[in-house]
């Protein structure tokens, strides 16, 4: 469960990333965050995994109340989330297997369990034959699939995806969306910031549109923009 109540994030007197932002996302939902560049999508995402601290307001992620969370507990919050980035953020000197396993070793999972789970995930994202390759030996789509596998390695309740298809062609984007749909079907909440209107329009889910740091549209099964509806 994700809850934002009157959240304000001020970077300076003039720059405000979140302005009285209030929203609630229930467990198991698939939500798109849309909006123009600079609207506050990234701020919203970064506030969720406490990369940014809110200036005021209340944020609750599962059982963590972020305005009260100590810096030393932030890693534990992040272990409850799976995060996927536009630029994949894979560890360059670790192999595909090691990249996924890293997230599991961090929480001190037994090596046998790691081996079993990572093998299972590699099958799921279709990269079983690339387990010993390094990230720079993979295509963008393959790297993003590794990043997804890493994000869900510890079976988080929430997956946050920041423009996961931003660097990918339409066919690869479809592959990624299918994997995310599959993860969502198992009960995982997906919050996905995106600029990809085709995806939003094709894979219909709740759409939250942000502008000026505020939610200006909250529509179940919505499309990328309201322009079509306005016409």
């Amino acid at each position: 469960m994700i809850e934002f109540k009157n959240v304000v994030k001020r970077y300076s007197d003039d720059v405000c990333g979140a302005n009285q932002l209030t929203v609630k996302i229930e467990q198991g939902e698939f939500v798109y965050i849309v909006g123009q560049s600079g609207a506050g999508k990234s701020t919203f995402i970064e506030l969720m995994y406490r990369e940014e601290k809110a200036t005021s307001g209340h944020i609750k992620i599962n059982n963590y109340v972020l305005e009260n969370i100590a810096d030393k507990d932030v890693p534990y919050l992040r272990r409850e989330l799976g995060i996927i980035f536009q630029d994949y953020k894979l560890l360059p000197r670790l192999t595909v297997f090691e990249n996924i396993a890293y997230a599991m070793y961090v929480i001190e999972t037994e090596p046998e369990e790691v081996e079993k789970r990572v093998t299972e995930l590699l099958d799921m994202v279709g990269l079983a034959d690339k387990r010993d390759n390094f990230p720079d030996e993979l295509s963008g789509g393959e790297q993003q699939r590794v990043s997804i596998a890493r994000a869900i390695a510890n079976k988080p309740k929430i997956v946050i995806a920041d423009e996961p298809t931003g660097n990918l062609d339409p066919a690869t984007s479809d592959d990624i969306m299918n994997i995310l749909e599959e993860i969502n079907a198992e009960g995982t909440t997906i919050v996905m910031a995106t600029h990809n209107n085709q995806i939003v329009d094709e894979y219909k889910h709740r759409v939250l549109e942000i502008a000026g740091g505020k939610i200006v549209r909250d529509e179940e099964g919505g499309i990328y923009t309201n322009e079509q509806a306005d016409l």
Partner: protein
């Protein structure tokens, strides 16, 4: 931290060292150069210390007997010497023996002055009970009949001691300075390797690694870097010192002074280099990590 996690950190640190080949080579190189200087300076300093303390602890007084003194007179001197408070032992060394010593130290050219041409004196070598008594024993011995002179190293020892003590002070100063340079150099090299991996640290944080989980492999990697950096300095110091010791031992034969034996000195220096290498490597990594681990 459980055993399993520590084992993982150990493996990760070695893997990372291997996969960041060029950065590792650069860091190990910096450590090597610095520790080579530290090793050299330490060997010099330890020997200066040894000679200084040899001089300080010198209890020997050489009682020179007037030329032409009869055997009875020489025996009388011994009796008088035995009466002096603070005398530990008395040993007679004839002119011939004295010349033999000189030949041993300065070479066979001095054999030319053997026989009647020998300009040296018969000598009693007196050991005082402790260094404080040396001067007193010498003074009293000088007053004995048929004694030409009584030397305890005299002014030359004083001069040498002054020199040794100034080398000692400067040596300590330079060592401390060099140690700072070593810390600075090693830490900076490791800092650069860590800075080049800032993104990795960022990613580790994002997947929920705690600061200590991120820090440990880097600290261990720093320690490995330090340890690898000690190999060449240890080898060169050991090899070089053994040669210097052999050469210098011949020159110092009979002088009463000696360099520190290789097995004593090298064990201490090698151990110190390893401790410095590992310590500064690990510490440098730990300190460099701090600013990348702020949440």
């Amino acid at each position: 931290m459980n055993k399993q996690t520590f084992k993982r950190h150990l493996v990760d640190s070695l893997t990372s060292l291997r996969r960041n080949t060029w950065m590792s080579v650069a860091a190990v190189g910096a450590v090597t150069v610095t520790l080579l200087l530290v090793g050299f300076l330490l060997s010099v300093l330890m020997n200066v210390n040894k000679v200084a303390s040899d001089i300080e602890n010198n209890v020997q007084v050489r009682v020179i007997i007037d030329r032409g003194t009869k055997e009875k007179g020489i025996k009388q001197i011994k009796k008088s010497l035995e009466k002096i408070d603070g005398v530990e032992s008395i040993k007679f060394s004839s002119r011939k023996q004295e010349l033999h010593n000189v030949v041993g130290v300065y070479g066979s050219e001095f054999k030319l002055i053997s026989g009647d041409q020998n300009p040296l004196y018969d000598v009693y070598v007196v050991d005082a009970k402790n260094p404080d008594k040396t001067i007193e024993v010498a003074k009293k011995a000088k007053k004995i009949k048929n004694v030409y002179d009584a030397k305890y190293g005299g002014t030359s020892a004083k001069k040498l001691f002054k020199l040794a003590s100034s080398i000692q002070h400067w040596g300590i100063f330079i060592s401390v300075l060099l140690l700072f340079v070593a810390v600075f150099l090693i830490e900076n090299t490791i800092k650069i390797t860590i800075m080049s991996r800032q993104n990795e640290i960022e990613i580790m944080r994002l997947v929920g690694a705690t600061n200590s989980y991120i820090r440990w492999p880097f600290i261990l990697e720093g320690a490995w870097t330090g340890l690898l950096g000690t190999i060449i300095p240890i080898f060169l110091t050991d090899f070089g010192y053994n040669i210097v010791y052999r050469v210098m031992s011949n020159s110092l034969k009979g002088s009463g002074y000696q360099l520190v034996a290789p097995h004593v000195l090298l064990f201490q220096i090698d151990l110190l280099l390893i401790v410095i290498g590992i310590g500064i490597g690990a510490l440098g990594a730990g300190v460099s990590m701090r600013r990348f681990l702020k949440i």
